[in-house]
């Protein structure tokens, strides 16, 4: 017995054809489950037609347990959507070898309305979708959608079997979190439009899933500090407390690089010298090896292109060294684009690297003795800091300048020790301090100018003096005034003294304390406004050490506590300049 019911007649034919080799007719294929499935798809409830029970038995449907099903089936029959035929009388119509359409004459429902005259048989097709990744391996758990057929998950073999479907045309897509964007090659689509699923066919669709272009992080730090210049993650820091860098958090969605370079999106700044390379770390936020194809699919754009260029031709690992080279003085942004989407960026400050001369000497007066210092160590320390702003400090050891016989200077100097047995500058005023330092500098310059033998001073050089009072000093060092070429260090060589020296040289390059900042030229507002605020702890990164909490201080920015121009008490970590300072510093 066979039954033809509306839209599934084509399937019936197909099955008959397939079964024909067994020289028998597949009967009773429309079993209880299939009937249920069919009715769910094609029939509406509420209409009942008399006589439907007559065929229900053949369908394995029992009135006592499937009343609703019977009612829906009856409704479909009443609507003329399905035909029920007594196929016990029709097997001879199947042609052996297939190809012929089964076209039994429907008897029409009994009882019920008359069937439509000569209805066309309902066709049947199959749709099977297989999803693989770029390596040809099955992708399990992808959601495959085929238009009105709905969605199915792929199994461990990457297969989503839609089974018997209505012939037609379907848009087939595959999606899986972390995957799925279209690529450029037609063979690499994860979406196919208007896939024909013809009547009587079994259509196989192959889709390819790609690892999605996840966000990319730049230069959380190079592997070694010596391989890059300046790094700034403070200028564009997020407004929200504990704002999280948008990279390398994966699956955050599409980003768009802001038009302005100072949007507080946690975009980073990097400095690079004209004609020099800098190494950054690039980090694609993928899981496992799936990132590799997307790495190759990403493009790197420097805007404007005349400022710098990308040196690294190809990224082959999700965490790798990424090199750029400065081309001309200016500012630019580098963004990574994947499938037309921005997935990460940073900003570039490019300048001509400048070598600034600093002559170093120790001053001997009636109140100081010669200080020993290691010029090479001092040079290494300072250049590790000033390279951030593309400045190379060229230090020359001028040895000792003996001013102990300068009586005029001694008089001025005495005013700096007003407290009996007290330290240098104890209970003094800024005015007398500056007057003495100016006098000492003038005397030292005059002494050096008189030299006819080595070491001789260099024209236009800045001056760094070790003035180490026998009685000790109230402070670590001083620059005569902002931008003045003369700087003093008040205690013996060592980490603290060098750090102070670097700080004071900053003043010589016209940089201010954050507390004395003018406008926003050296510190963005969100940094200087965090002065006098309790400092939170910061975790270490691979560009900067961690820092601990600290009480509020008038000259420490909670948002950038280790800035060299502030008063961070841990000298070993007070060594950072940011973009505005790079740009503001004197360069001659």
């Amino acid at each position: 017995m066979g039954i033809r019911i509306g839209g599934i007649s084509g399937r019936f034919e197909l099955m008959n054809r397939n079964e024909a080799t067994a020289d028998r007719i597949r009967c009773g294929f429309l079993d209880h489950g299939e009937a249920l499935l069919f009715l769910r798809r094609h029939t509406a409830p509420a209409e009942v037609i008399a006589g439907v029970r007559r065929w229900s038995h053949d369908l394995g449907i029992h009135y006592s347990t499937d009343q609703d099903l019977l009612q829906r089936l009856a409704s479909a029959i009443a609507a003329g959507e399905i035909w029920v035929a007594d196929l016990e009388r029709t097997p001879a119509r199947h042609s052996r070898g297939g190809g012929g359409r089964v076209d039994p004459v429907p008897p029409g429902p009994k009882p019920g309305p008359s069937p439509k005259p000569n209805p066309k048989p309902a066709p049947v097709a199959e749709l099977v979708v297989t999803v693989k990744n770029l390596f040809g391996k099955p992708v399990e758990g992808a959601t495959v959608t085929a238009g009105s057929l709905g969605s199915k998950k792929t199994d461990k073999d990457g297969v989503a079997d839609f089974g018997k479907v209505t012939p037609g045309s379907y848009d087939v897509t595959a999606k899986k979190p972390g995957h799925g964007k279209k690529r450029n090659g037609p063979e690499e689509m994860d979406e196919k439009k208007a896939v024909p699923v013809p009547d009587g066919s079994k259509t196989a669709v192959n889709l390819i899933q790609h690892p999605e272009c996840a966000n990319v992080a730049f230069f959380e730090g190079a592997t070694t500090r010596a391989n890059y210049f300046g790094f700034d993650h403070k200028t564009n820091m997020k407004a929200a407390p504990n704002g999280e860098y948008w990279v390398p958090v994966p699956d955050k969605g599409t980003l768009t690089m802001p038009a302005g370079k100072f949007t507080r999106d946690e975009g980073r700044w990097v400095s690079v010298a004209v004609g020099k390379e800098t190494e950054l770390e690039i980090h694609f936020a993928f899981k496992g090896a799936e990132c590799i194809p997307c790495l190759a699919n990403s493009a790197y754009q420097i805007i404007p292109a005349n400022v710098a260029e990308v040196v690294t031709a190809r990224i082959t690992a999700k965490k790798a060294v990424f090199k750029i080279k400065g081309k001309a003085k200016g500012e630019a942004s580098l963004k990574v684009v994947c499938d037309g989407h921005d997935i990460g960026w940073f900003h570039i400050w490019c300048e001509v690297e400048k070598e600034l001369l600093v002559d170093v000497a120790t001053i001997v007066t009636t109140r100081t003795t010669a200080a020993a210092f290691d010029i090479a160590g001092l040079s290494t320390y300072m250049n590790d800091i000033y390279r951030q702003m593309l400045i190379k400090l060229n230090l020359k050891d001028l040895g000792t300048i003996d001013l102990s016989a300068n009586a005029a200077l001694a008089i001025i100097e005495a005013a700096e020790y007003p407290v009996a047995g007290g330290k240098f500058q104890e209970n003094t005023s800024g005015v007398t301090d500056t007057a003495f330092l100016t006098a000492a500098d003038i005397a030292a310059v005059a002494s050096l100018a008189a030299r006819t033998t080595s070491p001789t001073p260099r024209a236009g050089a800045r001056r760094l003096y070790w003035y180490v009072p026998n009685a000790g000093a109230m402070w670590g060092g001083e620059n005569i005034s902002i931008g003045h070429p003369a700087t003093f260090i008040y205690y013996s060589d060592g980490l603290a003294a060098r750090n102070t020296g670097a700080h004071e040289i900053g003043h010589s390059l016209k940089l201010h304390h954050p507390q004395q900042h003018a406008g926003n030229s050296e510190f963005p507002e969100h940094l200087w406004k965090s002065l006098s605020t309790a400092v939170p702890a910061y975790a270490a990164t691979n560009t900067e050490p961690g820092s601990s909490t600290n009480p509020a201080h008038a000259n420490i920015m909670a948002n950038d506590p280790t800035n060299l121009m502030g008063y961070w008490p841990v000298k070993a970590s007070r060594k950072y300049f940011r973009y505005h300072q790079w740009k503001a510093a004197d360069r001659s």
């Binding site: 003085k329 001509v352 690297e353 400048k354 070598e355 001369l357 190379k392 060229n394 020359k396 050891d397 800024g430 005015v431 500056t434 007057a435 100016t438 006098a439 003038i442 005059a446 006819t452 033998t453 080595s454 070491p455 001789t456 001073p457 260099r458 024209a459 236009g460 050089a461 001083e478 620059n479 005569i480 005034s481 902002i482 931008g483 003045h484 004071e504 003043h507 390059l509 016209k510 201010h512 304390h513 004395q516 510093a585 004197d586 360069r587 001659s588």
Partner: protein
């Protein structure tokens, strides 16, 4: 004077082997002085002057100009002629204008005609040590007694509002000799604007001017 004749062998070797295309050689003259004496350093300077080309590393060229400025007082006429030729051979580069003009100025090498139209004129800078190509150029012109140059420098100082910037400009200007400079300095003898101390107001301009004038008198 040939450096080969007066410098220690190790220094001679270093001078001969120095790659002027490399920034590693920028400190050559200072290194030579540190490892020999001033005479040897000046001979090395002469040698470098003959070897420099337009493609030499910019920092090498920059510090060559500084060495010229530093040894200017003791350079002889022949050395100055070699240095002048080097200046003419190497295109002017604004990024190193400070030492470029300092060398010309201290050595009193007159390249004014060569430079006409080649130096960008922009008086908008604030500090005499940043983007101050125009200031560097006019200091040189004034040192060479170019008519109007000193007036232009004085006008820049007069147009400057910041007491700190005025102080820095006057300190820079005071490097030039002459009564004209004295006159400009004296015009600020009563200026109570102050320099910026690192922790607050610094010395008044008037006090700095007093010191600068005192130093000039001592010279």
């Amino acid at each position: 004077m040939n450096y080969v004749d007066i410098c220690p062998p190790a220094v001679v070797y270093r001078i001969q082997e120095a790659d002027l295309q490399s920034a590693e050689s920028s400190n050559l003259i200072t290194w030579v002085e540190e490892n020999s004496d001033r005479e040897c350093a000046m001979a090395a300077l002469e040698s470098v002057a003959t070897r420099l080309t337009a493609t030499s590393d910019l920092s090498v060229i920059d510090l060559f100009y500084n060495a010229v400025a530093s040894y200017a007082r003791v350079l002889n006429a022949g050395q100055k002629q070699i240095i002048r030729a080097a200046y003419q051979r190497i295109p002017y580069e604004p990024a190193i204008s400070f030492n470029y003009f300092l060398g010309l100025r201290n050595a009193r090498i007159d390249l004014r005609e060569d430079l006409r139209g080649k130096v960008g004129i922009d008086w908008s800078f604030a500090s005499p040590r940043r983007d101050a190509e125009t200031w560097d150029y006019y200091l040189y012109l004034a040192a060479m007694d170019e008519p109007g140059a000193l007036l232009a420098l004085a006008a820049k100082v007069a147009d400057t509002k910041s007491g700190n910037d005025v102080t820095l400009l006057l300190i820079s200007l005071a490097d030039l000799p002459g009564n004209g400079v004295d006159g400009i300095l004296k015009s600020y003898a009563n200026d109570l604007r102050t320099a910026e101390g690192v922790n607050g107001p610094g010395m008044p301009i008037a006090e700095n001017v007093r010191i600068l004038l005192m130093m000039r008198e001592a010279d």
